[in-house]
């Protein structure tokens, strides 16, 4: 069992003719993901080298109607990404995973407003995220597939490469993953910790959860309260940026300690108060989870 993606996923890659889109579409195909279509406006009917078996369309609508796509992954450059997300939603895609980094906040504010109002049934992940993977079934995004192993740990993370770090550690000590969800590091995003935690809490295939947060915002504090109330499975966590200076944006647009808010120590305190075990260093994430199983 798993959440969000699996054997039923029929993927369309928006921006498949670009070099990044093509590279990771190939990675998905090699992993066994059912990639049913590619979309790049103006490239309908063409072939992408190495992906000749996958039909290219001009619109997502065609990918849904003609190839049966139900999930989209977006590799479209930032200036066009908001348009691509809304196109996917308007075309009947149920799950939209946006990998693109650097989308202006103003664009995402508008996108979120439209999605909340007009497409409440659509689930979005990202932007600026590594994607979602259910090991052994379906890989969508930019994560290296080989580090994952099927199993029972649900992983949810604001950081891309830290997700790989914890997955690698988990696999190394023999703890497989049900699904790993990268929710991304932007301030305005689709799925947040709480939605992901709720999915894992209800998933019979998930027996424990690892959560990776970072400085900035208050999502981790809200997640801690949610876990205390609703999650009965063991949860361990790590917070990145414990030594980050205030007022400096640490790469992610969302990762900034400002106005005295968003510091790692407050997040760690909130998590520990909710009974969640927090890993002291990024090298001990998997061992920390193992210690409470």
């Amino acid at each position: 069992m798993s959440v969000l993606v699996g054997f039923d996923t029929r993927l369309v890659v928006q921006g498949m003719s670009g070099s990044t889109g093509a590279f990771h579409a190939k990675g998905a195909v090699e992993y066994g993901t059912r990639v049913v279509a590619g979309v790049t406006p103006g490239k309908g009917g063409t072939k992408v080298a190495g992906l000749e078996q996958i039909p290219m369309f001009d619109t997502v609508d065609e990918a849904v109607q003609q190839a049966g796509a139900n999930t989209s992954v977006i590799f479209v450059p930032p200036p066009f990404a908001a348009d691509a997300i809304l196109e996917a939603a308007a075309s009947g895609i149920e799950l939209i995973i946006t990998i693109t980094e650097g989308i202006p906040a103003r664009d995402m504010i508008r996108v979120k407003s439209v999605l909340d109002r007009d497409y409440p049934h659509v689930t979005t992940v990202g932007p600026n995220c590594p994607g979602v993977i259910t090991p052994g079934q379906c890989k969508i995004g930019i994560m290296p597939g080989y580090i994952h192993k099927p199993g029972g740990v649900g992983v949810v993370s604001r950081s891309g490469t830290l997700t790989y770090e914890v997955v690698h550690q988990l696999s190394t000590i023999g703890l497989g993953q049900s699904t790993a969800i990268g929710i991304g590091g932007d301030p305005v995003k689709g799925m947040d910790f709480i939605e992901a935690l709720a999915l894992f809490a209800d998933d019979p295939g998930t027996s424990a959860i690892f959560m990776i947060g970072e400085i900035g915002g208050s999502s981790e504090e809200e997640a801690a309260a949610f876990i205390k109330e609703h999650v009965k499975k063991p949860v361990a966590a790590f917070i990145g940026g414990q030594t980050a200076p205030p007022g400096k944006r640490m790469g992610h647009a969302g990762a900034i300690i400002s106005g005295g808010k968003g510091a790692a120590k407050d997040k760690i305190a909130a998590l520990e108060a909710a009974g969640i075990k927090v890993s002291p260093t990024p090298a001990e994430m998997a061992r920390t989870l193992a210690s409470i199983l």
């Binding site: 906040a105 103003r106 979120k112 580090i147 891309g160 790989y164 770090e165 915002g217 790590f238 790469g251």
Partner: protein
């Protein structure tokens, strides 16, 4: 991206937002010459001399002077220009004042706080207002959160006048001042939206004794992700406000922040880069920087990143920590090799590679003949880098 107060006010004026008359100056001479011009234009003797640095807390640090006479103003210009201001936001080293803003003094009846920023919890821009103007708003937020009033902007319709009227009522403004605030906020919110601001703070917003509403200060940050829509903002960059390495990093679209330590870090991904800093500190070392080379880096970009780290004179060892996803390990390896060929390598280099194309990356580094300390994982790498710096210190004794 941050800009100076005088630039922020120039932008506000462009949008019709009322601001006091003022003249920016890049030298003492220009600032002295500005004093009589500001007095003449405003029709009053009082001028305010304000240090222009990007950090807040200037007033408390002695960087703002209200001068009642020309002589007082001249004295203030000479005193403030060139002084080093230390505020909670500058760090202990402080910031040298190299720009001044000479502005008309106003007869102020009342001061308020007004701010706009993105509320992450709702995914909407929020306008905040408070009667506690001109003071440290973060302290107000901590001690009296009920004194900060909020109105969020609905992206479907934008800011509405009723929201300004509601704020004015709760701020106990008179009907005449309410009308002024409605106009003020209509223009301010348009500026925020059009210009892709990420923060716009007017602290204080003032009502003058003759009932006018003006922005007495303006602190504006722009969304870095949206700068491509506003190429004209590039000329407002102030290189004196930026670390030279950070400026170089920007040219290569690298995310770099200078820190106080001596272990240079090159990492992919913001979360891993932050955690690399954390783990270096955990093992007793001090990171010299935060550097995220990003996902789609080319060999050239990695080479540039490596050079930026090595040009920081404080760096005594380098720790490269890569978990390749979108970033391929062979790209990193080739970038390191090219950089070292170009500039040489005079310090210990610890490399931890994992992820996409890891075997190819490791082989490239092994075949290069470079003296690299390979790390098994990030804990091992951090410990090796910390030990390398400690060994250097021991050798120097």
């Amino acid at each position: 991206m941050k800009i100076h107060e005088y630039q922020g006010k120039e932008l506000l004026r462009k949008y019709g937002v009322p601001v006091p008359f003022g003249i920016p100056a890049l030298s003492v001479e220009d600032a002295l010459a500005a004093i009589p011009r500001v007095q003449k234009e405003s029709g009053g003797d009082v001028v305010v001399v304000k240090a222009q640095i990007h950090a807040g807390g200037r007033g408390k640090a002695g960087g703002v002077k209200v001068a009642r006479t020309r002589v007082d103003a001249e004295e203030a210009v000479k005193r403030i220009f060139g002084m080093t201001l230390v505020t909670p936001q500058t760090g202990p080293a402080g910031k040298k004042v190299q720009r001044l803003f000479v502005e008309q003094g106003l007869a102020i009846a009342k001061e308020y706080y007004l701010g706009m920023l993105l509320d992450r919890a709702t995914g909407r821009v929020t306008v905040m207002a408070s009667t506690e103007g001109g003071v440290d708003i973060e302290e107000v937020a901590a001690t009296h959160p009920e004194k900060i009033l909020k109105e969020s902007v609905n992206p479907a319709v934008g800011w509405q006048d009723y929201q300004a009227r509601r704020l004015a009522k709760r701020l106990a403004m008179t009907p005449a001042v309410t009308g002024e605030l409605v106009k003020f906020l209509r223009l301010l919110t348009r500026c925020y939206e059009d210009m892709d601001c990420s923060m716009l703070e007017v602290n204080p917003l003032v009502v003058t004794q003759d009932g006018k509403v003006l922005a007495l200060d303006a602190k504006i940050n722009f969304d870095d992700n949206a700068l491509y829509r506003h190429p004209e903002l590039a000329e407002w960059r102030d290189p004196n406000e930026e670390d030279p390495q950070e400026t170089a990093a920007k040219q290569w679209d690298l995310s770099y922040i200078a820190l106080e330590g001596n272990i240079g870090c090159m990492v992919n991904g913001a979360g891993l880069a932050m955690s690399t800093m954390d783990i270096i500190k955990f093992y007793g070392g001090q990171p010299a920087n935060f550097l995220d080379v990003g996902g789609g880096a080319t060999t050239e970009k990695v080479t540039a990143a490596f050079k930026i780290i090595t040009t920081d004179p404080a760096v005594k060892a380098i720790f490269v920590n890569i978990f390749g996803g979108i970033m391929k390990c062979d790209t990193i390896a080739n970038g390191i090799i090219a950089a070292v060929k170009e500039t040489g390598l005079s310090m210990p280099l610890v490399v931890r590679l994992e992820g996409t194309n890891v075997e190819l990356g490791k082989k490239l580094l092994a075949d290069s003949g470079l003296n690299i300390l390979a790390a098994a994982d990030m804990a091992d790498g951090a410990q090796k880098a910390v030990a390398a710096v400690a060994a250097l210190k021991g050798g120097a004794k």
